[in-house]
Point group: C2
Amino acid sequence: MSTAHTLNLDSLQQQVLLPGTKGLALKSALQQQDIPKQNWNVLNADTSFPVAVLKQTALQHNLAWMKQFCTRMQVVLAPHGKTTMSPQLFDMQLQNGAWGITLATVNQTLIAHRFGVKRVLLANQLISRSDTQAVLALMQADPSFEFFALTDSLDGVERIATQVQQSGITRRLPLLVELGFAGGRTGCRSQADALAVARAIHQSPYLQLAGIEGYEGLLVGKHRDQDLLAVRAFINDLVALTQQADAEGLFGGEHILLSAGGSAYFDLVGRGFETKLQLSRPVTAILRSGCYITHDHGFYHHLLHEMQARESTVDEDNLRPALEVWSMVQSRPEPDLAILTMGKRDASYDIDLPFPVQTHRPGKTSASIDLPAGCKIEKMNDQHAYLRLPKDSAICETLQVGDLVACGISHPCTTFDKWPLILVVDDEYQVQSAINTFF
Amino acid sequence: MSTAHTLNLDSLQQQVLLPGTKGLALKSALQQQDIPKQNWNVLNADTSFPVAVLKQTALQHNLAWMKQFCTRMQVVLAPHGKTTMSPQLFDMQLQNGAWGITLATVNQTLIAHRFGVKRVLLANQLISRSDTQAVLALMQADPSFEFFALTDSLDGVERIATQVQQSGITRRLPLLVELGFAGGRTGCRSQADALAVARAIHQSPYLQLAGIEGYEGLLVGKHRDQDLLAVRAFINDLVALTQQADAEGLFGGEHILLSAGGSAYFDLVGRGFETKLQLSRPVTAILRSGCYITHDHGFYHHLLHEMQARESTVDEDNLRPALEVWSMVQSRPEPDLAILTMGKRDASYDIDLPFPVQTHRPGKTSASIDLPAGCKIEKMNDQHAYLRLPKDSAICETLQVGDLVACGISHPCTTFDKWPLILVVDDEYQVQSAINTFF
């Protein structure tokens, strides 16, 4: 990874980590930049347990993979920063060609800007007066800061126009109209409604119509065939809306932004946006996948396998899971049960419980052992996990108190927000550095 | 609330909050101690949204209520600090007579000690060498720091004895034997096993048998009658084990610690521990409820209602829900659907989704409106909640984009860990101060 940073990460390197920092076993204060000198190895149990780790090789692979994917599809990436909220990871994403960072809230935007992010797509609307004032003040104070937000109603346009007017800011606020679908989340429910919103933005002296946006990632149902039809139809609708708004001359930026794409169907979005749009100005097609950077062992793992089956450019060597949570066996109270030192405070539980992958008896020389099929985290309390072992299997005999257990996770977003600091490790689990998160 | 603090909270008051601090809408840096001067009111939408608030009156009520409960039951309280991990709340608990703070991990212990907590009951075992070394170093460095941990196996006793020996610490490490039950979590599965562990502790020159511990709070099943029988039987087992260990002269402290009690059945624990134990030395009966301090609108609300039915001292004016998450209506895309600016990043979803309680159109003069029955958060994404409104109800007409929605939560532990800073409000939702959490 390059050492020339795009963002200002010095304050993070210089910060002092105190005893109690989750994931570390500190006896005294330590500057973050001194972590690499500690010679910590997870397999040697030098950290605290639980500990969350990012596998550097997988991370680098995923960054390069997505860069190549976007180049091939002729789209740009504004990765959703809410996944990680990590300045160091934002930096890696920007160094790998990201167009900007997508965020979900004004406070996330303020944090990203603090570390030097200069282009933010807020994949949400500006609603609250105080939040809106905070971000408009930032735009006023930093003319180089580009900020885009969504809107999905005429009311919303009026509210935001009033707030921009009251702020006294001299540049127009660029907005994307959000198209949704029946039964979905936010977003106009029809092309007609969306066009009306686009016209209202165009007519306001305080606003600028920057583009069209949608989010197809919610179309994950029980019947994937139907999901895929719905996703393709929705992307076509986004394209059609963009053409219509352009035909009416509503867009106000140098480029027309056209954005969709979570981590489930970004291939379909890429393919859908490939349509050679004959518009009045250049189109910037923006994917927003956030989870690709670490991928996972569950939800996105399955979705990517499906993507591989339908998209020839997604080859065997696709995204790799980079995020693991390691804990220790705390108790072996019953022959087929191990209680681990991790729980809801440490790993995602919103889509799947963590996936136990391997075990390791602390010591650099002992070998890690893949856990056999049938090993399963069957429950988590706040600070405990219940690892059920296959009855009468060899692992029932061998797994001891003090053994390490590595778990993969499903849905990175809800693991990242449990770790203010995550260790970056090499292929031998030697600790190389740390990244910070801001939730 | 008294202003004389037991803990060292000055560093928190003096810390500088930067723009981006979740819950606040800051345009510039602000010292935490200046929050009361800002004249912020949640009902006036002066904060960011979502925002988590603690209702001061309910908090004070709960602190006083539990203090009185413990006095009546002749038990002491070591509230589980993992619930809140908040030094300011620990301070309030200690000022209200708490015997110490219960914690779940060594890192939580190090954080509590940093702010001046001098007595910690670790409701878990010391397993990892590096974590154990960190806490033993603390005991060595601060002779006034009292620390107790659990163990549930002969292996565990041997491991910890070796670690204490290697640390060179001169005082014995006080341990409680954990009794469990079949199908439960940690803890010896029989009195015989527990006694064997107690004897091993007694025999070690590095350890001291400080007491007996169990956790009945997991016995929440589908048939409460059976749960209650199991809880009572388990508490009897704890008492019997304590008597047996004392008869063998295994305890080594001045007092014998006898501890159980989560937030579900602390009345039964209190009653069960009332047995006038004729032992060789005084018994300190310790409850560990953590959630009482904020209570909730769901899980514990229901359990307390049951408690009220069976325990005459739990009167009508019992624990009150103190923790709410306020968000804003971001979109009204369909007649009976409102999308709120909060999600899995902001409120508990592990037991129940949040409970929408009331709505308020920003402005101090408008009145809050209780949401009608049938209003329900039916889903949350990372940063969005789906508030379903009863079809064709009046609220479908009146609820607008920009309206505030207050939600109660179920299971405080998994809301606290989403908020590094929580605002404390008076009965009019005027912001009085803030507390910090350390996860």
